[in-house]
């Protein structure tokens, strides 16, 4: 397996939005399953940027946009843990805890805050998005600059390097 496949890759929005998508083997499925950056599979992302829109859909999910200056990344934060069949077989106290954490993340995501968002790369109606697992509000005004530098360095030293070239 490629070493970057299951890590949270730090990508700028323009880089994230140009990932290529390969659909699953069934030609009837509209759900793409694999995402590639310059031919290397990626599945998780970390981004830092300003929240420029937020839209709460009942108690089911929060949709928001992260603007990092190079693009806007759509993010979806699910809030339906207590009603979703997906969680029904898990320990109820764990599910309650997950629901509480997601609710806290949703209240942290306000217009204008600088947010670090981690999550799975997914696609909805052909548009790339992040299915959010973690949100951290950055208080340090320099955090975004350091994220840009991380993205630039990681691209040249790691993501752009073919796996067999890595020692």
């Amino acid at each position: 397996m490629d070493s970057i496949q299951n890590t949270y890759v730090k990508l700028l929005a323009f880089d994230f939005l140009s990932l290529s998508v390969k659909s699953s083997s069934s030609s009837f499925s509209s759900d793409p399953t694999c995402f590639y950056r310059k031919g290397r599979p990626v599945s998780r992302i970390e981004t830092v940027g300003v929240v420029v829109s937020r839209e709460l859909k009942g108690n089911k999910f929060l949709k928001f946009l992260i603007d990092d200056g190079t693009g806007c990344i759509p993010c979806i934060l699910w809030l339906n843990h207590l009603d979703s069949p997906y969680f029904s077989r898990r320990n109820p106290s764990d599910v309650r805890l997950l629901a509480e954490i997601a609710t806290k993340h949703a209240s942290d995501v306000q217009l204008g805050v600088l947010a670090r968002v981690r999550g799975r790369i997914t696609a909805y109606r052909g548009n790339l998005q992040i299915t959010v697992s973690d949100v951290l509000i950055e208080r340090d005004s320099n955090a975004e600059i350091l994220h840009w530098l991380d993205c630039i360095k990681l691209a040249s030293k790691c993501y752009d390097v073919r796996p067999r070239q890595i020692c």
């Binding site: 420029v52 829109s53 200056g69 306000q110 109606r125 005004s141 320099n142 840009w148 530098l149």
Partner: protein, 125 residues
């Protein structure tokens, strides 16, 4: 999807906003950074500066943002250019960025632009 229509605020310094600049266009979405010099509660117009260059910011759509003279702010919004070539940014988002290292910011912005341009060139090659 309504939110996909929101354009990213291109990162610019106030020095980039001369009338001859490619960023100086009606309706362009920008993110600007500067020190708050003036603010009028009546008009909601703020003036930010960076190295003696001034920009008018219309803050009427901003909520929950305390504007303090002398602090550094970042605004994202659309540029509105009047007949006399005077520009105002119609801000939709604003935040206090006191503590930002402006020299690191402008140097990193150059690196970021080069990285983005190289990426696009490689894609088109």
């Amino acid at each position: 999807m309504a939110c996909s229509e929101i354009k990213p605020g291109i990162l610019v310094s106030l020095q980039d906003l001369r009338p001859s600049s490619p960023f100086f266009k009606q309706g362009v979405s920008l993110r600007v950074t500067g020190k708050l010099q003036e603010y009028s509660v009546e008009t909601a117009i703020a003036i930010i500066t960076d190295e003696n260059i001034r920009l008018k910011i219309d803050t009427q759509h901003l909520r929950n943002l305390n504007l303090r003279l002398g602090s550094i702010y970042q605004f994202i919004g659309e540029l509105c250019i009047e007949n006399n070539n005077e520009a105002t940014l119609q801000a939709r988002v604003g935040r206090d960025v006191d503590g930002i290292d402006l020299s690191l910011y402008s140097q990193s912005l150059q690196l970021l632009r080069k990285f983005q341009a190289d990426h696009l060139n490689n894609q088109n090659a």
